[in-house]
Symmetry: C2
Subunit: 174 residues, 2 copies
């Protein structure tokens, strides 16, 4: 890729992670290779099965739990260390020249809940090679990231069936 | 699927079609079958190559041009007829019991430019079986559709590199 950008998908609406999935799928159709790091998604999401089928084009990792959020606790030192190691590995992948697209899925949520910091993300962004596209997703995008991103899209929930008391449905939301 | 919904992805931001692509990919990982109708996208988009690899789960069709928009003309009768036939076929697919998810990509743009009408879309929506998920994308979602959709997400462009004079990049936007 001649010039890679920093893309942000944020806001309280649906479609942030699915847009990132669609993006790496489209890019795979073009022959680009992607690395997709999912944070705080322990549940085996169904897109992983398709990523595995497309393993020549899409590599991925999942790291971090979100159960401390539901327990209304701070993340443990152990949890924060796991995220730190995964982000170090992400940087190695980004610098490896193997991938044209790198996705940090739910990174803003991980920052919001104290698993990492805006400063750590800024360090990663500063290391981004020019020809690599970096995709960042999650609610609560910090102001500092808004400012340096090339593209920011806010997904805003206008109307949602969760409001009718229906939770995430298998095969659709997870 | 027990209960299928009507999902709308609209707004002037990025990620509407890619969210729909991500959605059918995730659903394919779960074993659901999808039918994806792309309107007004004549260019061979790269996601198609991946859809072809996943043809046991994802069927698709492309119909309609958008060159009349650039010529600032109304669509020809021939163009409108092509869209009508594709939408008739879409309804047959929706009623066939073969697909759990149906995507009408760029349908609102097709309405906006006079290739079809809100009334025609409402007719399609009225025929939707309860256990089918219907995904509608595009800028310019009509008010009537907002009202009956179960989920509406607006993608809003906060910042975009097009503003810096860069056009769609192959492998990323197309």
């Amino acid at each position: 890729m001649e010039k890679g950008f920093i893309q942000v998908y944020t806001g309280n609406g649906k479609g942030k992670s699915t847009a990132a999935i669609g993006l790496v799928i489209r890019a795979a159709g073009f022959g680009y290779k992607s690395y997709f790091l999912m944070l705080m998604k322990e549940f085996p999401y169904n897109e992983i099965k398709i990523f595995e089928l497309l393993k020549n084009f899409i590599s991925f990792a999942q790291v971090g739990k979100d159960d401390f959020v539901f327990r209304k606790e701070l993340p443990s030192e152990d949890e924060r260390l796991k995220i730190k190691n995964a982000l170090d590995d992400f940087v190695n992948k980004m610098l490896s020249n193997e991938f044209q697209i790198l996705v940090l899925d739910e990174i803003f949520v991980a920052i919001y809940f104290g698993l990492t910091t805006t400063e750590e993300l800024l360090k990663i962004i500063n290391l981004k090679p020019k020809n690599v596209e970096l995709i960042l997703t999650g609610r609560y995008c910090p102001k500092e990231i808004y400012e340096i991103a090339d593209l920011v899209t806010e997904m805003n929930e206008v109307k949602h069936y969760y409001q009718k008391g229906i939770l995430a449905r298998r095969g659709i939301e997870s």
